[in-house]
Assembly symmetry: C2
Homo-oligomer: 247 residues x 2
């Protein structure tokens, strides 16, 4: 179908703006989802958790909308250079945002199981890490909307802080689980929640990398180390942590 | 740059075939990575684990190659209808395959920590689940290469089996951890390995959905239930499992 055959012929610029608006909307929702999930943990609010889980379908619908907008523009507008990069980046960013909302829904699900358990000290570290990652999501979206490569670079650099929090929280949770078997299930949920937040941080970094590529046409050298060191953690190291704690 | 200005002008069909070849290569590598990671666990083979971790960069490089091929074709060939769908799907599939290889590398990392711990019974269930998911990856790639929508549909249906294995393994692991605190770290690694394998299964499903869309132009109704029921698991339920086991 040629553009002229349509009822309303939007201009190319208007279509590009509409695409950015859908991404902004999706990003705003994903950020709100993360915020609600963290609040649901902090306040042990099962109702809020339920709403957060339900709202995930809205983000999924927006992802499909981004895909439709992109495919339509690719087919009818033959975009070149920076416009083409922006469209391809938008496809990838929508994929990342869908994942962010998915992780937020998973956190909300676990918060329901958590609300039935006794309050545990490590639960307090989770909101701190969550707020840090929420700021990362906000900033990478601002970088996208303002086409701000410098802000994108800052988001990428700050991911190390998130990783550090995750690594120490992971070890702390294992020592708690070791000391009291009644915390095993609670601890497992908190381990996965922490991992989900760390992954959301990785998606913020992915988005920032896409923004950098979209704006500059260049790919940042992928020299960032994988920040999650916990896969190498041995039982002995955790037992040493535990011994140090009780000393 | 117009196609005529290039040294070698490949035909459009040859470019589409080259794109499929890169995806096939990427898929083959990702599948091999998963296979190596599972073997590394089963044989406690630290050397193989190390190789699996290193090989992840090759999959990352292929993902960038897919992106370049896609962007180039979108810019120069103005693909329409099914070709356009195939290119957009290829972009998404390469993203999924990159994640699969990433999860495989994560499993390989954890296998190193596992190899230093005593052999635990739940470790045997992991390879079984791993082989099932490996078959899923193989089949969704075959579906992509043969443009076989029926095979794609089968992959999507079989995901429920993976989810079921994961749910029961998760509960089993928690009861082990509850019974012996010396298994806490080992158990945490196994929990994450099981989750990684379950996630790889989800990516196989994503790929199959993209294949279906690419071949038919239609999106499958997303009525599949989220198969991971573990986020709702309470400590009480796990204690009941444990009591039932020792009865």
């Amino acid at each position: 179908m040629a553009p002229a055959a349509e009822h309303t012929v939007k201009s190319y610029d208007a279509e590009l703006t509409a695409l950015s608006t859908t991404i902004a909307q999706m990003g705003g929702l994903a950020e709100a989802q993360l915020s609600s999930a963290i609040t649901a943990i902090a306040r042990r609010d099962v109702g809020l958790a339920g709403k957060t889980i339900e709202a995930d379908t809205r983000v999924d619908a927006l992802e499909r909308q981004v895909e439709e907008q992109c495919v339509r523009m690719l087919a009818l507008r033959q975009p070149m250079a920076s416009d083409l990069r922006r469209i391809v980046s938008s496809l990838r960013i929508s994929n990342d945002l869908e994942r962010v909302a998915d992780y937020a829904a998973n956190i909300a699900k676990r918060s329901i199981a958590l609300s039935q358990a006794p309050v545990a000290r490590p639960s307090f570290a989770i909101p701190r890490m969550g707020h840090l990652v929420q700021a990362q999501i906000k900033d990478c979206l601002d970088a996208f909307l303002r086409e701000d490569e410098e802000l994108a670079r800052q988001v990428i650099e700050r991911d190390a802080e998130v990783d550090e929090m995750y690594n120490s929280l992971f070890r702390e949770l294992l020592t708690y689980m070791m000391e009291d078997p009644r915390w095993i299930t609670l601890g497992a949920h908190l381990l996965f929640i922490a991992k989900n937040i760390e992954r959301i941080g990785d998606h913020a970094t992915n988005i920032a990398e896409q923004v950098f590529y979209s704006v500059t046409g260049e790919t940042l050298a992928d020299d960032r180390a994988k920040g999650d060191e916990t896969p190498y953690l041995t039982q002995e190291a955790v037992e040493e942590d535990s011994a140090a704690q009780t000393r």
